[in-house]
């Protein structure tokens, strides 16, 4: 009994000893500058920047002003609850060293949750090159969000959110598909790393841009060989989300079958895409069968849901889904980027064929057939107008 007790004490002591390891090289919280977000842009050409250089901006929260932000109702006061530092550099680490010279606190990237890369940098330098440091640094979380910015990435960091919260969280929520409209492609550093290193799959990152006084999401950046290849529009992104089974619901407007000019808004609540390789003669192709369920949500005509609507309404919703998914596929083939992971599927299902393929050349003309079957769920609260 005594020995059991001493064994337990020894084990517990060892375990507790491990928990106290944080005391080594302990740094007070007010000695750290937490970098919440990082943005990359191309430098202004008149500054004499070298071709391999880019500008790096970091957003650091200012706790003393953050407290005031809520009181002032969304940061409408004079000072912003964060500071932004920027530098021109050719590597991320060199940039951080330069920024460190301006800060009396140690820059800490363990809480970095947002990495914004401008379209120009993604095209000129490549996303993969920019992210190299973030992929290797153990401090950086795999759940850090990445987005490609249409325009200047730094401007997004400078923008205050319309309602009271700190800006990084606001952007993170936008990029997390908080609205549930499926117009945003949801990704993070970990997902990007997996996509980038998988043969037969090209990565996609969410798009973000600044309008006059707000931040807009929707759409996605398609990457090929680690660099920016082109944009998916928000509707193409929604179609893309359906094809890769990451659709989280969205509403669609279709014309009322019986009253031209009137619209019926439906909520597509659930979809599932089944991918199957098919061989027609000598030719290998892919068949994608999308099945989904929708509900009617809003009518602008003089009637509500009626049974006679069923067939034609279903056909119209099916046609919309088919159009969006085909558009997404067409854009991917046009950009020569296999964002659907068709190559990955061929590699898994028919590896012998895959090894004989030059996928980069074959993907743009690879036959893909999309079928859509939609079903009206008919959960109706009100029948009449």
């Amino acid at each position: 009994m005594r020995k059991n007790c001493s064994s337990l004490i020894l084990a517990l002591t060892f375990f507790l000893l491990l928990q106290t390891s944080g005391c080594w090289e302990g740094r007070e919280i007010n000695e750290r500058a937490f970098v919440f977000a990082v943005a990359f842009d191309l430098p202004e050409t008149e500054n004499g920047a070298k071709p391999e250089e880019f500008t790096m901006s970091v957003q650091i929260p200012d706790p003393s002003r953050m407290a005031g932000t809520q009181e002032q109702g969304g940061g409408t006061g004079s000072g912003k609850p964060f500071i932004i530092l920027g530098t021109t550099t050719d590597t991320v680490l060199k940039g951080l060293l330069q920024l460190q010279r301006e800060m009396d606190r140690m820059l800490f990237l363990g809480h970095t949750r947002l990495i914004l890369i401008s379209e120009e940098v993604a095209r000129e330098h490549g996303v993969d090159q920019i992210l190299d440091y973030f992929k290797r640094n153990f401090q950086i979380q795999r759940i850090a969000r990445i987005a490609v910015v249409e325009g200047k990435a730094r401007e997004i960091l400078e923008q205050m959110p319309p309602i009271g919260q700190e800006p990084t969280t606001f952007i993170l929520n936008l990029l997390s598909g908080a609205g549930g409209n499926s117009l945003v492609y949801i990704s993070d550093l970990g997902k990007y790393m997996v996509q980038q290193s998988t043969a037969g799959l090209d990565p996609v990152l969410p798009r973000i841009r600044k309008s006059e006084d707000s931040i807009l999401t929707g759409g996605a950046a398609v990457l090929r060989r680690g660099s920016f290849a082109g944009w998916l529009t928000p509707l193409e992104t929604r179609g893309f989300n359906i094809l890769i089974n990451e659709f989280r619901g969205s509403s669609y407007q279709v014309e009322c079958p019986f009253h031209p000019g009137r619209t019926i808004t439906v909520e597509v609540v659930q979809t599932g895409a089944h991918h199957r390789l098919v061989r027609k003669g000598e030719e290998l192709g892919l068949e994608i069968h999308v099945r989904g369920v929708f509900e009617t949500a809003e009518f602008t005509g003089d009637h509500g849901p009626e049974e006679r609507l069923s067939t034609e309404l279903t056909e119209r919703v099916t046609a919309r889904i088919l159009h969006e998914t085909r558009s997404a596929l067409a854009k991917a083939q046009q950009l020569k980027a296999d964002i659907l992971g068709i190559g990955k599927k061929i590699s898994a299902d028919d590896n012998k064929v895959w090894r004989e393929m030059d996928w980069e050349k074959e993907f743009p003309r690879f036959p893909v057939e999309i079928k859509v079957t939609m079903e009206w769920a008919q959960t109706v609260r009100r029948l009449a107008k």
Binding site: L10, R142, V194
Partner: protein
């Protein structure tokens, strides 16, 4: 270790083998499998495991022939004193050489996850002090500490792996047979993976201290089955979550899995740190068991009455060797060399000794004596 005070149960033997086998190397195992076999890397674990399952069985059968003795004693009787000492030294060396590399892995895991700039004199030195103390205490205390720590560690690893299944994509673990050729040198770089299966030779040192020697064979085989199943599940999960390309590119896929399954806003937001902390216990169990058996084996070999000071005496050498392994590539090469010793102690020598023992028994049997007379 006194026979009258210690009787190991089957469960304790299983946990001892697991405690020695589950180590820092488990965190890099998925990467090794992916680099060797690509998407089908998860199949490598049961394939290699099957080979060592056979090794575990013959090791247990060998021990059963001499239930009252350890390898140190019966090897001398079987193959003569010089060869017997050599065999014993090979086993002791195997356990000893695990120590520097495991301590080096611990230093690296601590540096990359917990204390980025903590120097080796502090991490390695402090760990070695605890190890030396632990390896010099009673074996039954050690067994019970192992039971507690290894179970915590397995529970955390299973939690991480199970949470990982939210991101599991079956396409990532196919094709099963891709036929992608690899150069022989690439296999050699990953040879250290066999150490994930070779904790079982310790049974040759604990037979006299088991409650029912006949149950040891079964316990040894069950321990290996459990290790193979757990490693297969772990590797399959990592490959299914990351795909073989990403897994092969990572140095510590096990830690990356814990980072990937972090749950935002919940208390488990930094699951990777929980895994790291519990995995330090796995490295601790591997090290203190290996260290204990080094001291125990040497004491028996040299006929020393007390073995408690041996771990303290060996500590400077362990420290020197662990600091000599100054980077990932060096200690990985060390693991590859160590895998030769693992194959020797886990397969070749037990098979050889079992063959000699069976031959001697057959030669000494009455039936054979009659044949000789005729």
């Amino acid at each position: 270790m006194k026979k009258e005070t210690l009787f190991l149960t089957s469960r304790q033997i299983i946990l001892l083998i697991m405690g020695l086998s589950i180590s820092g190397g488990t965190l890099i195992l998925p990467g090794r499998c992916a680099r060797i076999l690509g998407a089908a890397g998860w199949l490598l674990v049961p394939a290699v495991g099957l080979l060592f399952l056979f090794g575990a069985w013959i090791t247990a059968r060998l021990g059963l022939l001499f239930p009252g003795e350890t390898l140190i004693e019966f090897s001398r009787r079987l193959v003569g004193r010089p060869l017997g000492v050599l065999v014993s030294l090979v086993f002791i060396s195997f356990f000893f050489l695990i120590l520097p590399v495991e301590i080096r892995i611990l230093q690296e895991v601590v540096n990359i996850s917990l204390l980025p700039r903590a120097p080796s004199w502090f991490v390695t030195g402090a760990f070695l002090l605890v190890l030396s103390y632990t390896a010099s205490v009673d074996f039954d205390t050690l067994t019970q500490v192992n039971e507690v720590l290894i179970e915590i560690c397995i529970a955390v690893a299973l939690l991480v792996a199970l949470l990982g299944w939210r991101f599991f994509d079956p396409v990532n673990v196919r094709p099963v047979f891709s036929g992608d050729g690899r150069e022989l040198t690439a296999y050699w770089e990953e040879a250290g993976m066999v150490l994930a299966f070779t904790g079982y030779p310790l049974v040759l040192l604990v037979y006299p201290f088991t409650r029912r020697p006949r149950e040891v064979s079964r316990a040894t085989v069950w321990a290996l089955v459990a290790i193979v199943l757990m490693n297969t599940f772990f590797v399959l999960t990592v490959l299914g979550v990351f795909g073989h390309g990403e897994t092969a590119g990572q140095a510590w896929p096990g830690l990356e899995l814990a980072k990937a399954v972090n749950i935002e806003v919940v208390i488990l937001e930094r699951l990777d740190l929980i895994l790291v902390i519990s995995w330090l216990s796995a490295i601790f169990t591997t090290c203190f068991l290996a260290y204990f058996f080094v001291a125990f084996g040497l004491a028996r070999l040299l006929g020393l009455r007390r073995r408690a000071y041996l771990p303290w005496a060996l500590a400077p050498l362990v420290y020197y060797l662990s600091t000599a392994l100054n980077n990932y590539f060096v200690w990985n090469r060390w693991l590859a060399y160590l895998s030769i010793l693992a194959v020797l102690t886990g397969l070749v020598l037990p098979l050889f000794l079992l063959a000699v023992a069976l031959l001697q028994r057959w030669l000494a049997s009455p039936a054979h004596a009659e044949e000789e007379k005729e």
